[in-house]
């Protein structure tokens, strides 16, 4: 290497060094300004060894600013994932450090890694801004609805199995001449059918015989007819199979609960009112977190109104005159809940 080239190289290095020192001076004098994180609109997330806090986030589309604070004892990396794809990430976050990440995010559902990459992922929902700057649209996405829908499916399957078991035991008891057991099992079966009321219309063909006519559970409890009881047990078994094989859509579940309440408001003296409201209660509870996220006031109102109805029904002789307006209020709530969850449009 010629000496001239060496001098050229050293000169370039010297120049770079001067630039770095200059930038260093600018940086040190500016530091107080840049240090304060942009408090407005930034989203603080604390990441511990096990989880993100909060672990469910709804943010507007665009470039939300995440402030990730590592509260764990380990170096972590924080990633926003779309399936396996890394959408944005920040590596080397030392314990106690806070870093800012301002990724461009399209509307949709994402996952956030929390602490160790093997830990359960947090949920990040990015919603399209609709022009309004006040309240964000917080309607749940399809992904949000998957959880409660799946849990309801489990509840429906369990109820239908309880129904089939009780009907079967009732038929056997009648064959053996044990009318007391038969009556108790038929009442239990009818209660299980009542809890299924919000979705039972989806299985009308199988459920129909259990609801009306000589094989209906209500009339069987009075007639205690052995042949009809066996027919009812067969219907209940078929219904149980159909329920197990079906996943009701979120809209069918929530709308079904609303329809049941509205029907009861027109017929507050219905003998199955208590069990049907128990079925509605399950749906309200399962969707409660999503309802609360979309409309906190509505979620509180539903809880209150449902409690009032349950209290009235718990009395020995429910007063239909009092129940009627209470059920009507709850029915209106359920319609609002359907809109709040974004399920009111038929699709």
């Amino acid at each position: 290497m010629t000496n001239r080239l060496k001098f050229l190289l050293l000169g370039a290095i010297g120049l770079l060094a001067v630039i770095v020192v200059g930038l260093g001076v600018v940086y040190v004098t500016m530091r107080p300004k840049t240090q304060t994180p942009s408090g407005n609109g930034s989203i603080a997330i604390a990441v511990s060894d096990k989880t993100c806090t909060p672990d469910t986030l709804v943010v507007p589309a665009g470039a939300p600013a995440f402030q990730i604070h590592n509260t764990s004892e380990h170096a972590i990396e924080w990633e926003i994932l779309n399936g396996v794809m890394v959408v944005a990430e920040r590596e080397n976050i030392a314990p106690g450090f806070t870093v800012t990440l301002t990724p461009r995010l399209e509307p949709g559902s994402y996952q956030m890694t929390c602490g160790l990459l093997s830990n359960p992922h947090g949920m990040l929902t990015v919603v399209a801004a609709d022009g309004s700057t006040t309240a964000l649209p917080k309607a749940p996405t399809l992904v949000d609805l998957v959880g409660p829908t799946a849990e309801y499916r489990v509840f429906a399957i369990q109820s239908s199995q309880q129904l089939a078991n009780a009907a079967n035991l009732a038929a056997k008891a009648l064959k053996a001449g044990d009318t007391a057991t038969a009556r108790a099992q038929l009442v239990a079966a009818n209660a299980a059918l009542g809890r299924l009321a919000p979705v039972v219309h989806l299985f009308q063909q199988d459920a129909g015989p259990l609801q009306s006519g000589p094989t209906s559970l209500a009339s069987l409890a009075k007639s205690l007819d052995g042949a009809s009881a066996e027919a009812a047990a067969r219907s209940a078994a078929v219904l149980s199979g159909s329920v197990s094989a079906t996943t009701a859509a979120p809209r069918e579940i929530v709308a079904g609960a609303g329809d049941i309440v509205t029907a009861l408001a027109a017929d507050p003296g219905n003998a199955d009112a208590a069990s049907r409201i128990a079925g509605v209660r399950k749906i309200v509870d399962l969707f409660q977190p999503l309802t609360a996220r979309a409309d906190k006031a509505l979620a509180d109102k539903i809880t209150a109104d449902l409690g009032v109805v349950e209290a009235s029904l718990a009395k020995p002789n429910p007063d239909t005159a009092t129940l009627k307006p209470q059920l009507a209020d709850l029915g209106a709530d359920m319609t609002d809940m359907l809109s709040a969850l974004g399920l009111n449009t038929t699709s």
Binding site: L9, V20, L23, M30, T34, V86, R90, A94, G96, V99
Partner: protein
């Protein structure tokens, strides 16, 4: 303090390792005069990264992690190619050495000497730049965070230790007996290259480019986490990952399965001397 130290140790070793290997290789192939260019390349990369990091902090912009990952992947793949070709060149050279024709090394070198030397200096520059920018951003963060002066001290100490590791690799490479250097450092360099290759695949995933075969093969994050001293050291030198994905493991093993037998497959002592080309 420990975690910032280990983070900087790992990032630093990833760079100093390549510098150490290239520098000792240049000395061993009678190109000591290129060392000046190597140090210049390192200095320029460090200063450019410092400038870029400071600029980023001054304008308050986000660290472009995805672009950084893509850059890391590309440089990583280039490094894999160059390290591998170095190894096989050494193998060829050691054959000539064993036949006592030492001058033939110089003959082989003089032809493409200049271009090859420039390429190696380029590799050193980019290997340092690849880790330097991210390290600078991390270093500035340690000054800004409320965690106190120890985080910054730890991070700086980590960089110093990484530089020491780089020098150790350089000196080790220089001191070791010539034929042994060619044989065993070759194996070491091939394992390093395999780790770099796997790391590049990971970086491509984090850049959002490669999304196949992302199943985690094993999870050692509780046994040997990457922010433990040994984990950080192994991550820096061999590209150790505590939770590798299928694609990383596959390229790592595939590279070694192909490269090692190729290296050892042909006897090191040839039956008859050949003309060096």
């Amino acid at each position: 303090m420990l975690v910032p130290f280990l983070i900087m140790l790992r990032e630093g070793i990833e760079a100093s390792l390549i510098v150490g290997i290239v520098a000792s290789y240049l000395v061993k192939t009678n190109r000591r005069n290129w060392l000046f260019a190597v140090w210049c390349g390192v200095a320029m990369a460090v200063l450019l990264c410092a400038a870029a990091g400071l600029l980023l902090a001054i304008i308050g912009a986000d660290f472009p992690q995805k672009q950084q990952e893509f850059f890391e992947a590309v440089i990583g793949l280039v490094a894999v190619g160059m390290l591998t070709s170095m190894v096989f060149w050494m193998k060829k050279a050691s054959r000539t050495i064993s036949t006592g024709l030492k001058n033939e090394i110089d003959a082989a070198l003089s032809e493409s000497n200049h271009h090859h030397g420039l390429a190696l200096v380029g590799l050193v520059f980019f290997a340092v730049a690849r880790e330097g920018f991210e390290s600078m951003v991390f270093l500035l963060a340690t000054f800004q965070q409320s965690s106190g002066v120890w985080a910054a001290a730890g991070a700086l100490l980590g960089l110093v230790c990484a530089a020491i590791v780089g020098f150790a690799i350089y000196w080790g490479g220089v001191k070791i007996n010539l034929s042994r250097f060619f044989r065993w450092t070759a194996v070491f360099i091939l394992i390093v290259a395999a780790g770099l290759l796997a790391g590049s695949v990971r970086a491509l995933h984090e850049a959002g480019v490669w999304n196949g075969l992302q199943q985690v093969v094993f999870d050692w994050s509780h046994v040997l986490p990457m922010d433990s001293p040994l984990g950080a050291f192994l991550a820096g030198i061999l590209g150790y990952q505590d939770m590798p994905t299928a694609s990383e493991v596959i390229v790592y093993l595939a590279f070694l399965v192909i490269a090692l037998p190729l290296f050892f497959g042909v006897p090191v002592l040839p039956a008859k001397p050949r003309n060096a080309t």
